[in-house]
Amino acid sequence: MAPQLRGSVTRPAGAARPATVASTDAGASPGDAGDSSDWVARVRGLSRTFGDRRVLDDLDIDIAPGEFVALIGRSGSGKSTLLRALAGLDPECTGGATVQGTTAVAFQEPRLVPWKRVTANVCLGLRAAHPRQAAATALAEVGLTDRAAAWPLTLSGGEAQRVSLARALVREPRLLLLDEPFSALDALTTITMHQLVLRLWTRHQPAVLLVTHDVDEALALADRVLVLTDGRIGYSCRIGAARPRDRDDPDLITARADLLAELGVAMEGIR
């Protein structure tokens, strides 16, 4: 699935930025393909070791334009390491991680700058003709217009995470990296956030890489679910079900059992 339509929300011109290369140490060089239109992010032979531990081991991944990919794995499996490599935050990894177009990240903790009000946080580093106007639009999309002038420390966890999403989206990313952004939120807030993320994804059509440890979250959101085991993609499945998805969809139940088995969790009585 590679949607071609851009978001319906008007954006100031000039916000698009030239291709950001996260790291091109080796592997896929930007010039080696005429197929550069069918991927936004391409990972080739990516490895990362921490001491003796090989966290990522010769990893290959392609993410198509507009594709929603969920990456799951046990804690310490290197999920976040991969995301950090794509975000250009890890100079120590070897191999190639190339991103075509703007990348934006929403971290596990919202990482709002506490001495900047909400609008200023969304505008931070934004090179747009009218950054405040763009920020206002983005805040309206996440439903936080009335908190635009608030200090971050007065926000609830869900509100802060929505500001973080607005700050990522206002950059009109071609690749949106989500690093367990909902793991610290309560169950009800998480459901609302899932709906919000799907709405924003449908409207803006970025490719998304969602790192999560929550199988149900991956199943509710993603087109494709990858399981990271021993530094490699041990398992990959496509989820074709239409959104919004019913937890009890038979396809999802099968996929859930497969994924949990892949993660080493026994599901007695399910199959």
């Binding site: 580093g125 200090w151 420390l153």
Partner: protein, 300 residues
Amino acid sequence: MSGTRTLALVPDRAARPPGAASPRQSPPATPAAQPASRVRRLLHSKALLRLISPLVVLTGWQLASSAQLISSDKLPPPTEVWSTAVSLITSASPAYGSLQGNLLASLERVAVGFGFGATVAVTLAVLAGLSRAGENALDPLMQMVRTLPLFGLIPVFIVWFGIGELPKILLIAIGVAIPLYLNVFSGIRNVDAKLAELGRVLHLRRRELITQIVLPGALPQALVGLRQALGVGWLALVVAEQFNTSAGLGFMISQATQFSRNDVIFVALLVYCVLGLLTDALVRLFERRALSWRRSFVAA
């Protein structure tokens, strides 16, 4: 932040019927002004509360003097200190000059010394804080200077720079620079690394990273340093002015020592006290404004 405030008004205005007065013309100023005046009143009452204990001490001092419990040679009563202060203000004495003249000389000294010391300290702290090379080059030197006994430098300074203004200003500058440098440096180093990482993800330019993330992040610690620096600054002034001065509060004190005028000494000491309190209040005021993002957290 005026832009953000307008933003917040947008839904309000949209909900208003077309004929209604715009929010700017209606009197929304009254509800906004009320809490402000309440805050002011609270501050006033707090300020008054803080006045009680000094007043009690002052009254006790006066009573003890009036009852001849304390000899006025040792400790002149407040009334005498007051009348001496008034006479020093109204007429310049040949021995001491006028109080305001001396005050001005002292203020000038401390302002120049503070300005010089603070500029150097902040510049060095930023250089050392932002780069490993800067830290390697500057931090050992600052750590060495820090361990020097400040007032032990006075004889050396007099040998080097004579008895003019320079050694006095340098003494104040060094006294100010050390605590300011240490705190700004550690403030910069303690800025959340996750925010620095955020800056990279948002493609902040280096200048933006420094002005928007690093320096504001270091500000709380820098203000701790500022308070210490001002404290040391006043102290250094008192000491520096005891040597070979022809104007200033310290000059008044050393003259008065020769003439055994305790009342004049106390006038000068009390002026030092007031100046210290005033600068502290100024820093507090600045702190309250600059760190309001923190205060709202406390209030929430």
